[in-house]
Amino acid sequence: MAFGAFATGTAREQGPRRKSRIALLLLLPGILYLMLFFLVPLVSLVLTSLQEPAPMGDIGEYQTAFKWENYVDVIGTYGEHILRSFIYAILATIFALLFSYPLAYFIGVKARRWPLVQNLLLVLVIAPFFISFLLRTLAWKSILSDEGVVISGLKALSLMAPDAHFTGTGAAVVFGLTYNFIPFMTLPLYSTLERLDTRLLEAGGDLYSKPSTTFFKVTIPLSMSGIVSGVLLTFIPAAGDYINASRNFLGGSGTAMIGNVIESNFLVTLNYPAAASLSIILMAVILVMVTVYVKRSGTEDLL
């Protein structure tokens, strides 16, 4: 939804042109604000990432430099975490897509005859937004803990080894990421599927295609913009997330993601250059992946 919204809106640009002085007045405060508190921080992050420790300073004191080796260092030290972040995020995105598509299809296409039901189902989809992100993650931790009903049940049924754990593993982190970002996936899917003209599906059937062929040749291509938006809205926050992977939540000793490393470097060990260069790497990789993905899925006008 958010990504798609930037694509539209050029239609009315042919409308009456009015004095651009008013436009400037309307734009200036917000744009200045974003420059000051979004753009300048990014620049300052780049500068920080190149700093070196002050020769006589305490821990956490750095001076301006051009120490590009910081990047090499953090990739050497945290390469594993970076890789893990993207693997977890990709897995969570795929699971969220598989989970959400049939759900969004049901709400957007099958439930179309009853608008009130459709809206109520949609409320249920976004309901997790309304309960604290951290508390719902903690709730899963308790539910899926070794003493919890689910895991002890599975163990009793011998579906899980008696000494196995779920919380603290990579699987648990991917599970948490998937759960937490499902609404981000379902909503954009819903909003494109809701506009899907079902007569096109009938036309597909009329033109000798099996339901499955119609689904892959008609439904999926027509909902591509929703898939792209949903994938971006899920992948980006998932890659940078550090709640799910944190030890106090669903993660364990071997699950730390890039977000966890940035946090500990910035707020615990006060190694600002390392935290900053990791942030820049994260952002750069995401921008590259997003651009490639958007280009390949043929919806370039989205950005």
Binding site: G9, R12, G15, S20, I22, A23, L24, L26, L27, P29, G30, Y33, L34, M35, F37, F38, P41, L42, S44, L45, L47, P102, L103, Y105, F106, I107, P115, L116, L121, V123, L124, V125, P128, F129, F130, I131, S132, L134, L135, R136, W140, I143, S145, P211, S212, I236, P237, G240, I243, N248, G259, E263, F266, L267, Y272, A275, A276, S279, L282, M283
Partner: protein, 268 residues
């Protein structure tokens, strides 16, 4: 999808029920454990009580954090809604140079991971020597809410027929009167939606807050910090209360718009 089979007909609805139930599990858990007669940590069930609901502020820290979250949410929402609405109107209604650059500047904060936003701002505050606290949190929240406001309000502005404003000017309305009597009331639903979204984003934000809060506590930060030693049931009370308030608001708006639609259908 496969509507020919009797089974296929029920497969999708059944899946939807299971999927939605799955989404509700942690919400139900959080709600149930708000009635737990726990002492310190709220992991093991120790019996049912209304105590935590009646005396939420026995846990002073929880209440204080919640209060801060409300202050931050309201202030950031007001600032972001004003700034974002102005930009949205300008984007749809005016032509100017650097349009692409401005669109990019608005898009990027939504495409940037929160850790990067949080770390960047924190680095800036560090360089500038600003002490972190309530104000820096509000600044940070306003920043990431602006883009979402722009997107939401812009959608509303572009559905607004420019002929309505022209009709206002044609009927002797000065630019000021046209804005306040026509444009603004018609944009209001979009602006309200944007404000609610901002508040929800601000209220639930943890990552950016954590980097820019200093010693100030907010509700998510309190939960994070005390996760290690156990979270009191009072936190569940607050989260559940906020949840039901939000759901009730959404349901009211859904039902009332459904009623309005019905009434319109009846007339025509």
């Amino acid at each position: 999808m496969s509507s020919k089979l009797g089974l296929g007909k029920w497969l999708l609805p059944a899946y939807a029920i299971v999927a939605l139930t799955f989404l509700m599990i942690p919400i139900a858990y959080t709600f149930i454990f708000s009635f737990n007669n726990s002492v310190k940590s709220n992991i093991v069930w120790r019996g049912f009580t209304f105590d935590k609901w009646l005396n939420v502020c026995n846990q002073q820290e929880v209440c204080e954090a919640f209060g801060n979250s409300i202050i931050i949410g309201v202030t950031a929402t007001i600032c972001a809604t004003i700034l974002g609405t102005m930009i949205a109107i300008a984007l749809v209604r005016y032509r100017f140079r650097f349009r692409a650059a401005i669109s990019l500047l608005l898009f990027l904060p939504m495409a940037t991971p929160e850790v990067v936003l949080g770390a960047g701002l924190a680095a800036e505050f560090l360089t500038a020597g600003v002490e972190k606290g309530l104000v820096t949190i509000i600044i940070a929240h306003t920043m990431f809410c602006v883009s979402f406001v722009v997107v939401t309000v812009k959608a509303r502005v572009s559905t607004l027929d420019p002929a309505l404003e022209e009709a206002g000017r044609d009927l002797y309305g000065s630019p000021n009167q046209v804005f306040w009597r026509i444009t603004f009331p018609l944009l209001l639903p979009g602006i309200i939606a944007a404000a609610l979204l901002s508040f929800a984003l601000s209220f639930d934000d943890f990552i950016i807050t954590y980097f820019n809060s200093g010693t100030t506590s907010t509700f998510p930060k309190y939960v994070y910090v005390s996760a290690a030693r156990g979270i009191p049931a009072e936190a569940n009370v607050i989260a559940s209360a906020v949840f039901f308030l939000a759901i009730i608001l959404v349901l009211i708006s859904q039902v009332s718009s459904a009623i309005r639609r019905k009434r319109l259908e009846k007339v025509s």
